[in-house]
């Protein structure tokens, strides 16, 4: 099993809300004093790939696209147990949308050559776009299933559980294929000391646009199909009315009375 996991570097989605600001001039989010992290959704994809490797062997290649990629961040999949790391790191790749990003990743995966399963996060925690995974599959002509919580490889096919609103479906799919995953796959493993040491020694392969044979006009900001007109933080109106009491029990009872008074109950 040759597996490719697409996983990116993002600003920390769990940093305190106060550290999150929008620079109106550039329409970009800035997070002061908080280092970037590997995208959580992508980390679940790494975990899902490693579980397949644990069960039936194989090779896991992590693929990240971006600029200013901190090695200690993008090497996390390696320290978790991935075998290779390929970076698409060049200013030309920057500022893209799902369309140009999926195009670059699909071209890189083609260049990698042999692959049986591609795994992506259900969406990225910065853009929340949710299109790159299915987009890569469409560009490569592969079947895809989104929001998978379990993957088994049986007789050269993938048997996956796909999350639905009230449970899950069991789907059988031919390989090669693409899946997207989220937290339902289970907690990503912690890197072991051995893994961290191995990741330190391993140098990522860095590819530029020419390496994947794509014209710069199709990549990054130049290749966008979706224009972002505005990025803003919605203002919160409303004020919270605090309900008190001499004891916590009384406060609880007072809360019920308050809700009745406000005709909420």
């Amino acid at each position: 099993m040759n597996m490719v996991v697409c996983v990116k570097q993002v600003i920390d989605p769990e940093a305190p809300p106060a550290s999150f600001k929008i620079d109106a001039a550039t329409n970009k989010a800035v997070q002061a004093g908080v280092p970037p992290v590997i995208d959580h959704y992508g980390e679940y994809a790494v975990e899902a790939a490693l579980r397949i490797k644990d069960a039936s062997g194989g090779k896991v290649t992590a693929l990240s696209l971006g600029v200013n990629l901190l090695r200690e961040v993008v090497k996390k999949p390696l320290s978790m147990g991935a075998d290779e790391l390929v970076l698409l790191e060049d200013p030309t790749f920057d500022g893209g949308d799902s369309w140009s990003t999926a195009r670059a990743l699909a071209a890189a995966i083609k260049k990698l050559g042999e692959y049986d399963l591609i795994l992506c996060g259900r969406e990225a925690s910065d853009t929340n776009a949710g299109q790159v995974g299915p987009g890569i599959a469409e560009l490569l002509g592969l079947p895809s299933v989104t929001l998978v919580k379990k993957i088994d490889i049986v007789d050269g096919k993938a048997r996956v559980e796909r999350v639905t609103a009230d449970g899950y479906e069991v789907i059988e799919m031919s390989l090669p294929a693409l899946v997207t995953v989220s937290n339902e796959v289970g907690e990503p493993r912690y890197p072991t000391i051995k893994g961290i040491m191995a990741a330190k020694k391993k140098e990522p392969v860095v590819w530029k646009p020419a390496d994947i044979g794509l014209d710069a006009a199709l990549l990054g900001a130049a290749g966008r199909r979706a224009a972002m007109l505005k990025l803003f933080q919605p203002v919160r109106e409303g004020k919270c009315e605090m309900v008190e009491g001499d004891t916590p029990e009384e406060a609880g009872a007072n809360l019920a009375l308050k809700l009745r008074e406000a005709k909420v109950l």
Partner: protein, 332 residues
């Protein structure tokens, strides 16, 4: 080049009727179509969906395209994508609206890439720019910390809408419209996935998405036993129990009741958040609730910025008294 006009809404159906997201899509779609001065088309895909065409017309569609075929009984991406592509090519809409559901989020991006255009998923607002006459797609980004407005030059402009974010269309049985059947013509060999089982993880009582009151617990609940207490309150309110992510990750609550960006979106009249800090990812799933009530021991917790009423303190002491008072008030 084909001229793309009007709006097409992909209407999901289940159990022999249109689902609520279809009514929400048609509600949003009608307004967009009127603003564009174009038609509103519905498209229904599945087995036995032909009979629902009139329903879509009653909900505002001018035309209803149906692709009714046994090969479309289960949702299988390849088959549905081929069917939807056919309908979109035939109707040539400027805008395609789908639901941000298990099907919509799977299908919309593939449709976009197949047609060499773009989609915006999980939109909370859709509008037509009066100057450019292009669709403006507003969606949460950065886990709900911000919102972005997107548009595009390529047709069709595809959007999925967040559940419960749009006002559903009102049913008017006197409306007339045209029904157009399209043959599916699915090549079985081109369908690369098979649904071999479907597991429903039944939750007792009222469905979370339909409940008018939701009692949600967070990490501070601490155990599965704690959730039993939340159930008691939910029962008294004839509502349902929800959770933030940590209780689901820890197995105190089933995954199917997680609320938030990666869980369910709910919009009840009353949302009681117990021992939940109010992260942007959690609030993404409940910011449409009418009244949010928070119980949290930390007066600085973000949830108090979102709530209408709050109590600071230990839920273990506050909740039982609150529940019994609620019971008393609702009984009398």
């Amino acid at each position: 080049m084909t001229e793309h006009k009007g709006v097409m809404v992909f209407c999901e159906a289940g159990n022999g009727k249109l689902s609520s997201i279809a009514a929400e899509g048609l509600g949003a779609g009608r307004k967009l179509a009127d603003d564009l001065g174009g038609e509103l088309n519905a498209v229904l895909i599945g087995e036995g969906v032909g009979g629902l065409a009139q329903e879509a017309i009653a909900l505002g569609a001018d035309k209803a395209y149906t692709i009714d075929d046994p090969a479309l009984k289960d949702y299988r991406m390849d088959a549905y994508l081929a069917a939807l592509e056919k309908a979109v090519k035939q109707a040539a809409p400027q805008v395609v609206v789908m639901g941000q559901t298990a099907i919509g989020r799977d299908l919309a991006p593939r449709l976009a890439f197949r047609l060499d255009c773009t989609a915006a998923l999980d939109c909370v607002d859709l509008a037509i720019d009066p100057q450019t006459r292009r669709l403006l797609q507003t969606k949460p980004v950065y886990g709900g910390n911000a919102r972005a407005i997107f548009t595009s030059d390529t047709d069709p402009q595809i959007a999925t809408i967040r559940t419960k974010a749009m006002t559903p269309a009102v049913h008017d049985g006197s409306r007339k419209g045209e029904v157009i059947n399209i043959s599916a013509g699915i090549d079985p060999a081109a369908v690369r996935t098979a649904v071999i089982d479907r597991v429903v993880e039944a939750v007792e009582g009222i469905k979370l998405e339909d409940a008018q009151s939701v009692v949600a617990g967070g990490r501070g609940i601490g155990s599965a036993d704690g959730f039993k207490q939340l159930e008691e309150l939910a029962r008294a309110l004839k509502g349902a129990v929800g959770a933030s992510r940590p209780p689901c990750d820890n197995g105190w609550a089933p995954e199917t009741i997680q609320i938030g960006l990666t869980g369910k979106i709910v919009a009840p009249e009353l949302y009681i958040a117990v021992a939940i800090s109010g992260s942007s990812q959690h609030m993404s799933g409940c910011s449409g609730c009418k009244t949010i009530v928070a119980i949290n021991k930390d007066p600085e917790a973000n949830i108090f910025k979102e709530a209408r009423f709050g109590v600071v303190g230990d839920w273990k002491k506050i909740l039982p008294a609150f529940t019994s008072k609620v019971r008393e008030l609702l009984a009398g």
